[in-house]
Amino acid sequence: MANKLINQLGLPKSIANIFAARNIITAKAALSLTEFELMELLDVGMTEVTFAMAHISEVVCPPCQTALLLMEQRVRNESLAGHLPTRLKGLDEALCGGIPFGVLTELVGPPGIGKTQFCLKLSLLASLPVNCGGLEGRVIYIDVESKFSSKRLIEIGTKSFPEIFHKKGMAQEMAGRIMILRPTSLSEFAESLHRIKVSLLQQQVKLLIIDSMAALVLGEHDSGASRQQALGWHVSFIKSLAEFSRIPIVLTNQVRSQIGDESLMYSFQARSHSTKEDTPVTFDSHLVAALGINWAHAVTIRLVLESKSGQRFIKLAKSPISPPLAFPFNITASGIVLLDDNGIEMKGPEINNIHCQGLSLRFLVIRSVECILSEHKNFFGKIKP
């Protein structure tokens, strides 16, 4: 929209020529200058600039809809008004039907907790025929750390949907709908995104999974600023992809440890805090989601997977449509299974905390080593999990 050429916008010839003479060809270039700057640059009066900018703005500006129209469109055109059911009853209810279309859903948790298992199940669910509750579409699975296991996918399929998978050729058809891409760098990933955009247009792809976003970004840049810039661009692009194609996009994120107990405060909080007694500074490390606060703002739904006292939980840490609930779960042969469909409501910022207590140490070590080895594939050659 913003890349429209000024001479195609229907402005009077005289002013359109002046824009062209000063090398302002696209609407974006015109809108990236303040009106005062334009007045100076184009050498015309304020009234002409205001008139021209009003005209350009009207053309570039996005169309107006009403919330009612949005809802009717979703109900009419999309399955379950725009949600992909996860078959986890409690979670689906909390999410008003399932993973929503058109927004980013993030899965964050320590290694080995079950993020990839969740993604495998979701890709299966999206490829199922519509009469079985799926989206009957293709899935693009971006597998950065080479964690995708087709054997495990078929196992989940046969255990969860035996009636479908035992039919001849169905397993092949389902698995055939899932396309796995393995970009090795952020730029390769960006290129594949551009290609994906084209196939999304043809309405074939119904789900995009990126496992994991953190591995893609953290491997590349050292300093904070350039990493944030690169991440920022990719986030915008993925969000606009989700929005314009109305498909669910699921991303996984890693955790990193943070030393000390100080949570960040605002300046007005710091003022009132300093008058109280100093609490002893602790040096326990705890886990936080990787990729920073900018990323945390950008995702629409954040599902935190953690392990507390040996029991795994999946928590709705950020969601505009759900209360802050935590559901205990286990991983079985048929994927993730909730132990209790009525979640536990969590108060306060506790829901954002990520615990990793009680996961079997041996299991954790194996998973962590796998993560490290997959990053250094070149060194160690082919890895067998």
Binding site: M1, A2, L31, S32, T34, E35, M39, L42, D43, V44, G45, M53, A54, I56, S57, E58, V60, C61, P62, C64, Q65, T66, A67, L68, L69, L70, M71, R74, A81, C96, G97, V103, G232, V235, S236, K239, S240, E243, F244, L264, M265, Y266, S267, F268, Q269, A270, S272, I293, N294, A296, H297, A298, T300, R302, K318, P320, I321, P323, G348, E350
Partner: protein, 348 residues
Amino acid sequence: MEIGMLPISASKRGKLLAAGYTTLHSIATTSITHLATDIEVSESEALEILNFATRNSALERSSGSNTNVIQVGGQTAWDMLNEERFSSSITTSCADLDNILGGGINCKEVTEIGGVPGIGKTQIGIQLAVNVQIPLDYGGLGGKAIYIDTEGSFMVERVLQIAEACIEDMSEYSHHFHKDNQAYGVKMHPNSILENIFYFRVCSYTEQIALVNYLDKFVTEHKDVKIIIIDSVTFHFRQDFEDMALRTRLLGEMSLKLMKLAKNFSLAVVMLNQVTTKHVEGSFQLTLALGDSWSHSCTNRIILYWNGDERHAYIDKSPSLKSASAPYSVTSRGIRNSTSSSKRIKMV
């Protein structure tokens, strides 16, 4: 240079100076034909310049006389006080929050609300978009809302939930206060609430700027819009900019336009902002995004934060409200009072 104040093109200004017109007075006292021949422009252009010059010099001459101030578009403080008495505000559905805000989010003002992810900014935005539609009979404004979504966090299911809860609350209210009058039932339907929210999805900063420019025309055509919510004003300006100075100028121009909209059409503008970390006095602190110059752009600034297990709102900046913080909660019905029984409003 006085000539620099005239909103004319740079070359015309240059010609005026070259022909010897250095003050507005000198332009104002000359005739159109003289001006036209001196600076070699057409008579209509000379008339335009003359009009600008006389308007500006009238401003200079009459400083001190009240009646002339009104002629040139100013207002006395007494008139403004009377206006403010009748200016309206939009309730947030949380009585504590409304109290520290002096009744609610004020019309004719630009309010910025910022906080960490998940604190409830979008929830407040949606609640306000629904509450602006509360009919006059129930103490509301009976207006419509414009919701500008830059992040894609506007979920229609949630709007429906909040709209239904609002209608239920209204019918309960009318039930209590108009028990005798059966005909006072609420006639609103959640779908009509959804219909009165104009939704724009903005995908880049150029679209955002274009939209703010276009809003003048849009609100002129839809005079019953009483609130504009931008969720969030930050997102696109954080990703693409290498030239920070340009970003500051563009943001400044955008906020000026929004303030003009608020004043001219008597509506409320609510901007939702994200947070970032700032290194201050040896430690990292949270602060609202977009920089220090942006913090001057809004009339009121509210920061949402976690205080223990409760959500609080703190008035960080306001020309007329006292710095205070109030607890609120996000429920399935929308923003409501916090349920804890501890002391309510904390004066800071």
